[in-house]
Amino acid sequence: MADQALDLSAFRDVQRLAYQCAETIAAELKPGMTEREVAAQMKDWLLARGVNDWFHQPFAWFGERTAFRGFVGFRHLGGFNPAFYPTWKRLEPGMAFILDVAPSLNGISADIGYSGALGGNAIVDRIMDDLLDYRELILGMVRERRHLSEVSQAVDRLCARQGYEPRHKAYPFEVLAHRVEMLKPDEKAHTSVMHFGLRNLTALGRDMLRGKREGWSPLWSSNAASDHPPTPGLWAVEPHLGFRGITGAKFEELLLVTKDGARWLDDDVPHVRRWMERGLWPVKKSQAA
């Protein structure tokens, strides 16, 4: 990244656009809508605002699908799980939902996850509150330059302590986070294969090859491949917590890792604003994980 300051603000703008999309569509959710309808609405909304490529196209999960029940347990098609794709499941009052989208705009990508419930849902509220601990834990450990697998294992332990299941383990390669790279800037529309943007996948593949040589992995998980110090760059971090297979929630946003530090790209994101409203953020030092 040649001009870091400029790039960062561009990444932040795309992340904000993606969150704006999720918030707008979430505000208009109605009982009876299907996951496919909602995912399509998100796609149209973003295309209308200049998005011309994807890391992945929008996903929407409703009800117990937010907890990914049964997604873990066997190696789904070599780490690729078709259960991600939006289905005809219909939204009902009180149901949890997750909207997840990763748009690219002129070569700049973001990857966000937005959780909520239609009306009130005490379990979603609780998980959303608890997700703050994960955001603090991950940032704190990365700043301490702890190996990424250690950070992911600490997330697993926090899940066990809080009574959740780490559902991000149902993602391809069980990732807690993955790298996001800058693509060649242009305004052409680019190809996606099975909802995933070809250029972003290629960049990830290049990272994997390079990482293999240099001893790091662009796929951050609890596994041995992530047993290395934090690699500088942008990481889309996505802790996803499930409770008893009935309800789940996550956030996803970009973490900037530099040679000697780290910070969240943007603190003005919906889940942080929610914690502020509930008096949980900023976290007092004594309470930090």
Partner: protein, 597 residues
């Protein structure tokens, strides 16, 4: 908590002089107990069949300190008119009588209704019929459902026609045999006249273990009250109407009511918007067997309705009502080691099934977390810190549970720690540590709570969590396996001892279950580095096996539901158990092999 006494005889409590209230051609005998609290809330007591207002004579004086207490003889009972025509006993007439009494005793303020049996059937009619419902501040009822609700209950089960639904229906019909018998002309009236009236107190003493005195109107009450059934049952049960109420209802449910199955109340939340439910270890005539308890519950409910201050007991009663219809609604479950793994899963499963859960763990924060999660699932839960191996901690826990919540219905002794390494490497301190938690914990939990269950004549259940390793001798985990084998024998002995007392005892034997136990397992005779290496190696084995704590929680629920002596969880446990029986020689040879640890 009120003292619960059964079967004690007490001195005759006098009835106040009745005054007469006339409605149409019926005269009602109305009794008011003297009170110093003239401006206090009014409580109206309505009796059932074959009783008269005198059935309240023990409860009424206990209430009179806090309330104005009024009772009356329903038409066809006691000193009220006994109309001849069956039609005169229709619910519409009975409720009109009640409205007349309410207007007479409390023209302005609402009254708190307390009713039993047939009085309770009238009470339901009253709280679902305007304008009378608007005159009722609260309704405490026991042992009598609304006939219309019962009509829907029966129709729904007939429509559903599942074996479970039909069995509920069949059992309720078996409990209600007398209702059918009452419709045969002549039979019961003749029995009352032939001396059943004189035998009634002895009959009650024998069958229901309650002491009552012969009443001078018993024969007439018995004969004429049959008309209540004849005038109402057929029509209400066959073509019920939808009856809803917003009046706050406190349901007292005597667990050993011979005339009612508990499921009869399952659909009540559909009809009642504000409901509390209290379970009592008693039979049908709660006001005779437990007058103090009834008085306490009524006083507490009246106080809450008048002031809005909900006591802890009523909060529990509210939760019990909300859980109605769930399989373990109204049950109290104590679980040790509930801060993680199998214990936490079991606590959450029971919470989902409507039970009230006491989560016990040596780590208070972990227990607290489990209780919070249980509440998220709509359960009611408490967290208690205790070292299960400590006599003092466990005695404190058992006393607290009994005093605050009552005798538990289910106790799961689950807390345990792991230990690996040979017998020779295991130090005395290590042995003491693991015996303290794994064996003493189960001894204390079994002993203390079994004592409570025996004392309260409760039909309780104790589940001890052993391990598949209880069947597997090996040089790898001798200390752990020894404690778990001891738990096995303790459980079998306890089952032999308590089986005849109606208390179930089960052992559950989990296999390689992926919980946090490995990270807390001590590998004796190793360095720290070696310990870590072995821990992560074993952890990987556990992860590959991926048997979930949920499976054990489900096995525990299954053990209780079917009173199973033992439940094996996981193919590895079944395999090793089978081998130990089929070929002890091969089993011992396997024991000598060191499976990579």
């Amino acid at each position: 908590m009120a003292k619960r006494k059964t079967g004690t005889s007490r001195a005759e409590a006098p009835m106040p002089q009745p005054r007469t209230l006339r409605r149409g051609d019926v005269e009602l005998a109305v009794y008011e107990w003297p009170t110093t609290a003239e401006s206090a809330p009014v409580v109206l007591l309505v009796h059932g069949y074959p009783d008269s207002a005198s059935v309240w004579r023990h409860v009424a004086p206990l209430l009179a300190g806090h309330c104005r207490v009024v009772a009356y003889d329903v038409r066809g009972a006691g000193h009220s008119t006994h109309p001849n025509h069956t039609a005169a006993y229709a619910l519409e007439e009975l409720v009109a009588d009640m409205a007349a009494v309410v207007d007479d005793i409390s023209p302005d303020a609402k009254v708190h209704l307390v009713a039993h049996d047939w009085g309770s059937i009238q009470g339901w009619e009253a709280v679902t019929t305007q304008p009378l419902a608007a005159r009722i501040a609260s309704y405490t009822c026991f042992s009598g459902p609304s006939l219309d609700h019962a009509g829907y209950w029966i129709a729904q089960r007939l429509r559903h026609a599942s074996p479970a639904a039909l069995s509920q229906l069949g059992r309720q019909l078996a409990h209600s045999w007398y209702v059918g018998a009452f419709h045969f002309p002549g039979v019961f009236p003749t029995m009352w006249k032939a001396g059943l009236d004189h035998a009634w107190p002895q009959l009650l003493a024998k069958l229901e273990r309650v002491q009552t005195e012969a009443s001078e109107t018993q024969r007439a009450d018995g004969v004429d009250g049959i008309k209540l059934y004849r005038a109402n049952f057929r029509q209400r049960l066959s073509s019920p109407s939808e009856r809803y109420t917003n009046v706050p209802v406190q349901l007292l449910w005597p667990r050993h009511d011979h005339f009612m199955v508990p499921e009869i109340w399952d659909d009540l939340p559909r009809w009642v918007s504000r409901l509390w439910r209290r379970d009592v270890d008693a039979g049908h005539w709660l006001q005779l067997s437990h007058p103090q308890l009834v008085a306490d519950y009524v006083t507490e409910f009246v106080h809450f309705i008048e002031t809005g201050k909900e006591s802890a007991g009523l909060k529990r009663a509210g939760h019990r009502a909300a859980a109605m219809g769930k399989p373990d609604a109204g049950k109290l479950v104590v679980i040790t080691g509930a801060g993680s793994g199998i214990g936490r899963e079991t606590a959450l499963l029971y919470a989902e099934r409507g039970a009230e859960v006491v989560a016990v763990d040596v780590d208070e924060a972990a227990a607290q977390r489990t209780a919070e999660l249980a509440e998220l699932l709509g359960g009611m839960a408490w967290a208690r810190a205790a070292d299960v191996g400590s006599t003092k901690d466990m005695e404190t826990l058992a006393t607290w549970v009994r005093k605050e919540l009552g005798t538990p219905d289910i106790v799961v002794n689950n807390a345990g720690i792991g230990m690996a390494g040979s017998v020779l490497d295991t130090s005395v301190a290590d042995w003491e540590k693991i015996l303290h938690v794994n064996l003493w914990g189960v001894i204390h939990g079994s002993r203390l709570f079994a004592q409570q269950m025996v004392a309260s004549k409760n039909h309780g259940h104790i589940v001890n969590v052993s391990s598949g390793l209880a069947f597997f001798p090996s040089p790898m985990t001798p200390a752990y396996a020894t404690t778990k084998a001891a738990v096995r024998m303790l459980t079998e002995c306890l089952r032999a001892e308590l089986g005849g007392k109606g208390i179930g005892v089960s052992a559950v034997y989990p296999g390689v279950v992926n919980t946090g136990i490995v990270s807390r397992t001590r590998f004796v005779g190793t360095t720290d580095v070696e310990q870590q290496r072995r821990q992560s190696k074993v952890q990987r084995l556990y992860e590959r096996r991926n048997l979930k704590p949920e499976a054990v929680a489900a096995a525990i629920v299954d053990a209780v539901e079917h009173d199973r002596p033992e439940v094996l969880v996981g193919v590895e446990t079944v395999g090793i158990r089978t081998l130990s029986r089929l070929s002890p020689a091969l089993w011992r040879r396997l024991a000598r092999s060191n499976i990579g640890m």
